[in-house]
Subunit: 328 residues, 2 copies
């Protein structure tokens, strides 16, 4: 492991502090593990809250800021924060208007979120949870995990909250987004856990894994490396099938680099995906190619697709200002 770090057991604190020092007008750190908007949103508006392990920068803490998350509870590297940390996050933005809690479907996050939500409700906090489950799995009977599609919930529900929509409206919107989106991951090189130096999974020199999930947990389909165009077709076919996309549909497309895969390759994949969807009569009405949710120096990327309607399109274009994503 060749990384520029200090104490391997203090990575989370140092990286969060670094982020806040780089973007002090966007975020601040409270009690070491809460990333909070530098200027709070007016308290008559619904708050949007999330949680997640660190080591996935800019996700998920880097999406706190105007127009996206109000607060995000940080766990250690690749580990969910404990319930008390998430409860503290919820208290930090507690309000009459209530809050949307966005949980990615991973065992640790789900457990923390459920416990924290119970404790919060016992204290009178008004919270609705959305569990993101948009991952495309190799077979239809496996439950999807929450991958980079959380970004769509943060961005679009964050914009709706900024506009003053009610908690019921925002919860309905979050459900619509989760139902209408799909993410599929391809992995070409393994990541190293920066605290332990451990490597997740195995992968041959000429192999890639489709449906690889976030960390290389395995369970995907290993096959020989392919060209960008071929890889895009494999991924996009599965998304089209799962979501039943057809000619005339409109989508927002994200190519989310996992770490080592260059932005050059992400742009090429975006072009290939654009060609693919256009050939099918599916129109791309919004896009982003960037590192949204990374896994250290993992190779590969996530293709994240959201079927869009008028409401989603308008909110996607709305302004936001976070360390990881800014719309003017």
């Amino acid at each position: 492991m060749k990384k520029f770090i200090n104490d391997p057991n203090n990575l989370t604190n140092e990286l969060l502090q670094g982020m806040a020092l780089a973007y002090p007008r966007k975020v601040k750190i409270v009690d070491e593990k809460l990333v909070v908007r530098a200027e709070a949103k007016s308290s008559d508006k619904v708050a949007v809250v999330s949680l997640g392990g660190t080591g996935h920068e800019p996700a998920v803490q880097g999406f706190v800021g105007k127009g996206m998350l109000d607060v995000c509870a940080a766990g250690d590297i690749w580990a969910a924060p404990g319930p008390p940390t998430l409860l503290a996050a919820m208290k930090e933005v507690n309000r009459e208007a209530g809050m949307l809690l966005v949980t990615l479907n991973h065992a640790g996050d789900v457990m923390s979120a459920n416990m924290a939500k119970q404790m919060a409700e016992a204290e009178g906090i008004k919270v609705v949870e959305i569990l993101t489950t948009e991952e495309v799995r190799p077979t239809a009977d496996e439950e999807g995990r929450g991958l980079g599609g959380c970004f769509f919930i943060y961005k679009i529900c964050g914009a709706a909250a900024e506009q003053g929509k009610s908690l019921d409206e925002i919860a309905a919107l979050a459900n619509k987004i989760n139902d209408n989106m799909a993410t599929i991951a391809v992995l070409s090189e393994l990541a190293t856990h920066p605290s332990t130096g451990g490597v997740c999974g195995t992968l041959g020199d000429d192999e890639m894994e489709i449906c690889a999930g976030q960390h290389g947990e395995g369970g995907g389909v290993v096959m020989p490396m392919a060209s960008s165009k071929e890889t895009v077709k494999i991924l996009a076919d599965k998304i089209v099938e799962k979501k039943g996309l057809k000619s005339g549909d409109e989508i927002i497309l994200i190519i989310n680099g996992s770490g080592k895969t260059t932005l050059m390759e992400q742009y090429i994949a975006f072009k290939d995906a654009s060609d693919y969807f256009t050939d099918k009569g599916i129109k791309i009405v919004g896009g982003h190619a960037s590192e949204v949710l990374t896994v250290q120096e993992a190779g590969g990327y996530q293709m994240i697709v959201l079927k869009a309607d008028a409401e989603i399109k308008e909110l996607w274009e709305a302004p936001c200002d976070t360390p990881g994503y800014t719309v003017q």
Copy 2:
């Protein structure tokens, strides 16, 4: 080489097309090799023009857009565009108010820029060139190359042009920025040329190179890998010495990941650099930690420091909207 590409000889076209497809409201591609603002700036304002090889995404073409570059001529991977391409870029934004041409000090770029400028002037185009030379070299008598500091010129001169400043004022500002900035690169892993598979340079498993330049051309100082804090001190000491920074000075700081080095490490480096400068009484008044100018999957980062005054601070905060950088 394990990359998601198609034809290794058509990378530049595909990646530029992908970028424009992802951000059609920000940029468009003209004649395959010119990246142009989607909506032209009003023609009574000075244009800002640059050139550079591709394979460094988002730099340099990704900084075209409102508030930064008006047009950028693209070369092949790591190669300058030829003079005709740059001349075409200059004609694309030709105007009474004139244009600033930003050239990074690398032999190929300098040659293309000089020839294109002569041809442009012969055709009556009003152009002033700024050559960026801000790199810290191992010894004081070596001429600095132009590294990621071009980003400061694009951002700040782009904002000045947007405000309607004259070409003389913008040229003076560009010179001030070049004089007041310094960049130093540390390299921990080598990049692969995505067309040829060739690797630039050599580096041992436990080594890093200081003053490594952009592509691993060599000429830097090879030493054992060090912690983030130690590495930051080595880099920042050289910048402080070269620029004569002292207590009371204000700076804008960028930690620019080269590719493989994670955003986690960039945030940690930002924190360590913030601690370092604060200890010296030097105040960080603006920051950015991100991949600004990458070199494929190279490990390491560039520390880019600009001594700021009131004019620079105001223009740094001004809005911009490009694929690679957005300020609200």
